[in-house]
Symmetry: none
Subunit: 214 residues, 4 copies
């Protein structure tokens, strides 16, 4: 790394380049907002509260984000992506090799349901703004597409290896994804008792297994 910008302090100086500090402030804001949204909801959280939690001034918030909504969008993206990651990992065909298909389906659904335990307050905001804010919806849909694609790919893989027979993998992926998503949301965000939860996981597994088998 030969030529560095002149503004950078000479090597050895107390390393706190603006960039790093900046990134840290930004991160503090995102974390502060995440906590506040999670605990109080989006509308109920003021920008002043976010600034206070992040330990910066209100003005600074607007140095990093154009407006309050932009912070939410970023958090939504991050959150949904994390959820998606967990699920997509579970959908890796490699994991579906040997084991019993029904058991795999069940494990998957279980994972999806459990995923709802990640930042439930934020997920409530998600439903709240999904149809209200086109960008929230776009963000969510962009990532959902990934999940659906992973399901479709898995179904095609199962088709190819003769372990399943699904006529229209894309539509099946959509139906499965949506059904599991909302059933999970209702059960997890609604605080359903464990018994009801287990029964629902069983039935959903059965339903989906039957759809994709034979």
């Amino acid at each position: 790394m030969p030529s560095q910008p002149a503004s950078k302090p000479p090597r050895g100086a107390t390393r706190t380049p603006q960039q790093a500090r900046s990134r840290r402030t930004r991160q503090a804001l995102v974390e502060a907002a995440t906590g506040a949204f999670e605990e109080r909801g989006y509308d109920e959280t003021t920008t002043a509260e976010i600034a206070r939690r992040a330990g910066v001034s209100v003005g600074s918030v607007y140095g990093y984000f154009p407006d309050k909504r932009a912070i939410l969008l970023e958090i939504v993206h991050e959150t949904v992506e994390q959820m998606s990651d967990r699920i997509v990992a579970e959908l890796d065909p490699a994991r579906w090799q040997g084991a019993d298909l029904r058991a795999s389906v069940r494990a998957l659904i279980d994972t999806v349901f459990k995923t709802r335990l990640l930042r439930p307050g934020l997920q409530r905001i998600l439903w709240e703004r999904f149809f209200k804010d086109p960008e929230v919806r776009a963000t969510v849909e962009a990532i959902e597409t990934r999940g659906r694609a992973a399901i479709a790919a898995l179904l095609e893989h199962l088709n190819a290896t003769g372990r399943a027979r699904v006529a229209d993998p894309d539509t099946a992926a959509f139906v499965i994804h949506t059904s599991v998503e909302w059933t999970g949301a209702r059960l997890m965000l609604g605080g359903a008792p464990d018994a009801q939860l287990d029964a629902a996981v069983d039935t959903m597994s059965e339903m989906i297994s039957r759809l994709i088998l034979d």
Copy 2:
């Protein structure tokens, strides 16, 4: 009794006793609010706008409802009940007598999906406030329970007549109801193209049919 006092209006005339006038104003308010909520959303609708649309003054709004939220609650109740009525009617075991079970399931799902075309704007508000406003949630859940009960009853009837074999009708009802509800919401409120819609109806029908058959 041919001749009545002149002060009494002739039968059929615009009878406007206090009660009727009152009822009409109230109705005007509900309709005005429904339209405004539908078009602009809940938060975006001001009480002044509702009054203006109803052709009355702001004060009148508060003569009939304690606050803005109460109007929403009433409309939510009414709307959800109408939706539920349509679906519950479709679930009457009598209708499932002769016809092919798969065809019946498909018709049902079609109905549920079409139901989403009733006041889509209001349904968006429904999702928006479901986790936010406990009373909205209670209202919706109260009526959902009815739908689930109807499904469960139908499943039990089908079990009894040997046309289906469902181990846990209650859970199955919940899973079916929730899956269809949200898939329908996503497709109808999201403005999906007809082709995608038809494919989804097909797949959902298949999925549910398989769940309840044998």
Copy 3:
């Protein structure tokens, strides 16, 4: 009473002349307002509440009074007059004949203080509006004048009978009246304990006795 108005119903008819009914409604309104003002305060009482308590419609209130304030004025007048009556009775020179002057003064002050127990809520409204509403003040002052005149007359009587020596009976009357009035108000409306009350009555008696004696 020879000629009566033709509008009066013939003797013997079911006597409920409008006048009487009217007077009764008016009275009901005054009583309703008195109760409401007493319990909730003036600003906190709505005309609707008064109407409700009186068992009539809001509109009727305005058939008997030009506005809400007029009702208060009437009640204030009535209340203050009642209070004044009690005190003026106590000031009748005849009552001061034989007895010990100090004892009489003490009895008088006791009476004045006790008078504050009559509709304390209304008396709070009195202080609240005394400097705010010129008509309330005028009403109160008109009656206070009576009280002061009675005190002055008593002092002159005592002067004349050689039992007291007061240089300026009018001013003395004013000072005595005002001092006792407010001290009483503070103690009674403020909920002072009995001990403090008794001590205050003692000291006030002493103070006034000394003023008027020699």
Copy 4:
């Protein structure tokens, strides 16, 4: 330290660090509110009017006070304290050393009465809200206690120096304080003519002197 950084304003210049600006705005608000309350009364003054007078926006009002009432409370405290200061100063036993006791009492009463000329509009509000708003009452009573204590202390001092003989200094203090307070309020806030005023001061002085002497 002669040469300071250029960015620092020269000594004596319009120093406007954040704190000072803030303090100035706050002060402007208090003054604006004082004027408005004084001229128009509490209920009749809107928050918008206060902001307008202070030359700031409505929002700023709420940046410094939680609500309108808090402004009143602050002003009440300040005003009552100023009044109390004047009177308590007059009650300093040192001032009562040599002079004629009667003259001292008269001077005191004169001071108390004159005190009522300080923001009469605000004092009207004081009476208006004394029984209505517990915090106003608490504020006033807290400071009144101080006045009563000063009177009691003076009486005890006079007792000790043999210049007075007061059996129960605390009660006497209460009675004197309350009597003078309200008589003064009635005369000063009511706009009594000078002659009546002088006569009242004379009589009150006489009354109180006699109470505390012998």
